[in-house]
Subunit: 217 residues, 2 copies
């Protein structure tokens, strides 16, 4: 994988080209279960993921896992830790063929640092807004409304495990299964071998409209 | 209120002194209930709150309110909107004598802009980390554990309304009241005229240790 692949995903970061020219930015694929970083450690790199699947999560000492983010396309990790001197706030683990470029902080000179800082500041601000909305949805709406919204507007393919989806929606596997069973019994959708088929779009729209109108219209 | 008051609260922002010298940064107190900004609007200013109480929240179309932040000391608002071109993501309302300085974006020249951008980027990154932890606590731990943690380590005085506290802890007034009643009946604490007195510190420590060990030790 090369600079041309990188720039297709992250066009604003073209000022990193000199580092690619010197072969300083390696490309890597992490197999399912491989750890990219662990919580509460120092992070010496930025990661520019381009494909595959991964998850950023925190495992708690009561056994629960809270999912911060599911990666399934281009995504930057390590941006917060780049801006401020803090340990990593989550684990990042590949869920299957997570692939991307690793930029070690030690190879960045001052000019590139300043340009990176400006762009990453905006990335973090956007993530802040997105996180606020997603937390608000988790805390403010019923699980059935959240599931209906996800199925209609965010579901693309059977990429997530049910456990991951539960984390993303701010619930547990058990509660999520119950909602899918209910939706299945009411013939709103069919869940078959991890693949979701929508059967009654109108009713799902009605259920999720309270979220859609508030956040996405 | 003057520059000397401002700089006591925000020492890193001393490069704003020329604007104070020209009387371009007004100081204001907002009475209880007064609105500083509303959700989904353009924001033409940064706010540097120095004292009083306020809350940043989002009112949802299902009637619920999700509290993002309770202000009770120095705090900056408008930082995310300064970094990226986005509408406000919440309402900010005074809960009583919220006071601070307002810096209009239009009076900021390029040199000050760059310095502000750098500092605000770090503020937002810190808020991102804090928000992630606080969301994780809300989603990952039982309400009793959260209340015990709050009472022991974050409660200072009877500054918040019970409704505000419920929002801060990610629950409803009804659920929170039930926990306080239970703690009261079990003689863990006494809630009298909005003032909390701790009666059984050891048991509250036991309840909240799961949060403290994970996030604050």
């Amino acid at each position: 994988m090369s600079y041309s692949e990188f720039i297709k995903c992250f066009p604003k970061y073209n000022f990193l080209k000199p580092l690619f020219d010197k072969n300083l930015i390696p490309y890597k694929t992490w197999d399912k279960g491989e750890v990219i970083c662990r919580c509460n450690r120092e992070l010496d790199s930025l990661y520019f993921f381009t494909s595959g699947r991964g998850r950023a999560y925190r495992g708690l000492n009561n056994g629960k896992e809270v999912i911060y983010c599911l990666y399934s396309g281009k995504e930057i990790a390590g941006d917060v830790e780049f801006l401020i001197d803090t340990g990593t706030t989550c684990n990042i683990v590949s869920s299957g063929n997570l692939s991307g470029f690793r930029v070690k902080k030690s190879i960045i000179d001052e000019k590139i640092y300043n340009q990176l800082f400006n762009l990453l500041a905006k990335e973090v601000a956007y993530k802040f807004v997105t996180n606020s909305s997603s937390t608000t949805i988790k805390l403010g709406y019923k699980l059935e409304e959240r599931v209906a919204y996800y199925v209609l507007y965010e579901y693309v393919d059977s990429v997530y495990l049910m456990e991951e989806l539960a984390g993303l929606l701010g619930t547990t596997y058990r509660h999520l299964s119950r909602v899918f069973k209910k939706f299945n019994d009411e013939e709103l959708l069919r869940l078959d071998n991890k693949k979701i088929t929508i059967l009654n779009r109108r009713e799902l729209e009605r259920l999720s409209s309270v979220i859609k109108e508030e956040f996405y219209d």
